[in-house]
């Protein structure tokens, strides 16, 4: 695992893939930095897997180019790209042992037997599976299969690693452990990782940056924290964590604080870096955990519809006079004093808690 392959950057220019009239990828432009861990996150059918398969060479783009390390690979056959790929369902060769699977890319590259054996041992040690080298894939658990797939994709020191829903088939607990491991592996190897998932927690846990995909396009790209705190669109605000949405018209602006007229009365909102003018209609996204019981700079009366205690927090569904539904999360310290269902409570939130997002 030499330095020259320590990671290369990827640039996508106007990448599109059409199936008849359906646009699986629609003019995608993206720059993945060398050594970055980027996750493509989106619902099914958003084009994230198509994008990954185009990178791997299994989907021929209708338009556009893919550059890796400065040279175009758009026309390169998959076997010539030198990318490690971890497939959905792992795609281990059922007729080969674990060692056979991991050694296969080296065998194809014409390495000698002793060299293959040594590298296979290193790769299996890397994923802590050295003791299972002679097993067949079907004799392994899901988590072990995933590690074999990982070892197989890394053993030939590829320029980058592509992961297609690598945790898809695993249960929640195991998924969490493997996310941490994968993240450490990425830090250690320093290669470029591109991961595809529909699980937002996985994306947040592992990635340097997340590209949220929707209908064949990248909706928003950024670090997990930035995406979470400053979603640009309603879709992003709702897909990456839940949000409440409040519509209103700006009636006044004073020192970066806008006053909005909404169905349930006035709301003050800190504009931050997103300017607005008087008379503009704004859509505000508000995280459920930023809503608080009791009065605040913004106040509302609402009826409690359901209140559920979930251990780490509690979820309360509320309805305002206008009919607007609001979700509120209470931290564990407040969850003991859950409001009774059917009662009317007072809520409040800070002007800085809301973010203006583009409607769909």
């Amino acid at each position: 695992m030499t330095d020259e392959s320590a990671g290369q950057d990827i640039r996508l220019y106007g990448l599109s893939k059409y199936y008849g009239d359906f646009r699986a990828l629609d003019d995608v432009n993206l720059h993945v930095a060398a050594g970055e861990f980027l996750t493509l996150l989106g619902p099914s059918g958003s084009g994230k897997s198509t994008l990954l398969m185009a990178l791997a060479g299994f989907v021929e783009p209708t338009h556009g180019d893919i550059f890796v390390g400065g040279s175009s690979i758009t026309a390169l056959a998959p076997e010539k790209r030198d990318f490690g790929v971890v497939f959905q369902g792992y795609a281990l060769f059922p007729h080969m042992t674990v060692a056979g699977n991991v050694g296969y890319p080296l065998k194809v590259r014409g390495l000698g037997k002793p060299e293959i054996a040594a590298k296979v041992r290193d790769a299996l040690d890397l994923v802590q599976l050295g003791h299972l080298a002679t097993r067949l894939p079907k004799q392994l658990s899901g988590g072990q299969q995933q590690r074999v797939a990982l070892a197989r994709a890394l053993v030939f020191s590829p320029k980058m690693l592509l992961l297609d829903e690598p945790m898809g088939a695993l249960d929640k607990k195991l998924r969490h452990d493997l996310q941490l491991e994968l993240r450490q592996l990425h830090r250690r190897l320093g290669r470029t990782f591109v991961n595809v998932t529909h699980d937002q927690e996985e994306a947040m846990a592992m990635s340097d940056r997340i590209a949220i995909m929707r209908a064949g396009k990248i909706e928003q790209l950024g670090a997990p924290r930035a995406l979470y705190d400053a979603p640009e669109t309603r879709f992003v605000a709702d897909f990456l964590g839940k949000s409440n949405f409040i519509e209103g018209k700006v009636t006044g602006i004073d020192a970066g604080i806008a006053t909005l007229d909404t169905a349930d009365g006035p709301v003050v909102h800190a504009l931050g870096t997103r300017p607005a003018g008087i008379g503009d209609s704004l859509l505000l996204a508000l995280r459920p955990q930023k809503l608080m019981l009791g009065p605040g700079p913004n106040s509302r009366k609402a009826t409690v519809e359901t209140a559920i205690f979930l251990g780490t927090h509690a979820e309360v569904s509320l309805r305002c006079a206008s009919g607007l539904a609001l979700a509120l999360n209470l931290g564990i310290e407040n969850a003991q004093a859950l409001p009774a269902e059917g009662t009317t409570v007072e809520l409040g939130w800070d002007p800085a808690a809301t973010v203006a997002v583009r409607p769909d």
């Binding site: 059409y18 008849g20 021929e60 783009p61 209708t62 338009h63 026309a75």
Partner: protein, 295 residues
């Protein structure tokens, strides 16, 4: 070199399917090439030639087809073929349904034994099966011997070298083909549906007629088509067990080619046989799917 215009072309139709967006031939077509040579050049072209032959020999025109439809000899052959096929199909399907039903509802070991017992005849040469029936059923054969010794009859029964013999031989050949598609469908029926029907107050007979039977219909239909189509093409069984007295289409073709050397007429009869077969199989493929039929 691919032109930029190629890249914008939307993938539609056969031509584009051969080549990808950049005009590269998918290398996997090399794996398909041998079968294309074998099937297209060495099989479909000769078949097309038969079609051509039927309207060109001895002279161009539809004379051969007219003869099939009007001349008494060929017409009798056609009707005999259809009649025998219909009779054998009905018998095979009824018996096949019972066997499949038994198979689908007995214990696993019992089921496996039945399946193998039904499959074994498929692996035995149709010639040998026809030969066995011939010696069994002929006048001096064991069946007539036994019946005469037991005093049931004075004269040997004419069991073979007639339509009865052909029907026995054909049913024997066709039953496995009737059993397998029906069994495949029955095995896929969700038993809970039957329980549901019973729990809703339907009796056993009602449940069978109103729930079970309709669910098996795709299998019965596929089996009917396959058995009938195989019957249409029968050659060896009628030739041996019919003793020259029961002439079906296939044997008529053979006589036209090998004995009377009327290629055009034999070709026309072949085309009739081919069209009947393809239409029936086509209907089956459209309704229940090719795969189900050939299970």
């Amino acid at each position: 070199m691919p032109s930029p215009a190629d890249k914008t072309a939307r993938p539609t139709g056969f031509r584009v399917a051969l080549r990808d967006a950049r005009g590269h031939l998918d290398p996997h077509w090399w794996l398909v090439a041998p079968i294309l040579i074998l099937v297209v050049c060495l099989y479909l072209l000769p078949l097309g030639n038969v079609l051509l032959l039927s309207v060109s020999d001895p002279k161009p025109g539809l004379d051969n087809y007219e003869r099939i439809a009007t001349a008494s000899g060929p017409l009798k052959v056609l009707l005999t073929t259809l009649r025998l096929c219909a009779i054998t199909t009905v018998i095979s399907i009824v018996l096949g349904f019972c066997v499949a039903f038994a198979m689908a509802h007995v214990r696993e070991t019992h089921q496996r034994i039945l399946v193998v017992a039904v499959l074994v005849p498929l692996w035995i040469s149709v010639l040998i099966r026809a030969f066995s029936w011939l010696v069994l059923l002929r006048d001096q054969g064991p069946v007539n011997d036994w019946l005469m010794q037991s005093g049931a009859i004075d004269q040997p029964l004419a069991l073979v070298r007639n339509e009865l013999g052909v029907v026995i031989g054909m049913v024997h050949y066709l039953i496995p083909y009737a059993v397998l598609p029906i069994f495949a469908v029955m095995r896929g029926i969700d038993q809970r549906l039957l329980f549901a029907s019973r729990s809703l107050g339907a009796g056993a007979v009602t449940t069978f007629l109103k729930v079970y039977l309709p669910l098996t219909l795709p299998g019965v239909f596929a089996a009917t088509v396959i058995v009938f189509v195989f019957g249409l093409g029968f050659y060896v069984t009628p030739a041996i067990l019919g003793g020259g007295r029961v002439v079906m289409l296939a044997e008529s073709v053979s006589v036209a080619i090998l004995q009377t050397v009327r290629w055009g007429f034999g070709a026309a009869q072949s085309v009739v046989l081919l069209v009947l077969t393809l239409v029936l199989i086509g209907i089956m493929a459209k309704t229940v799917g090719l795969k189900k039929g050939f299970g």
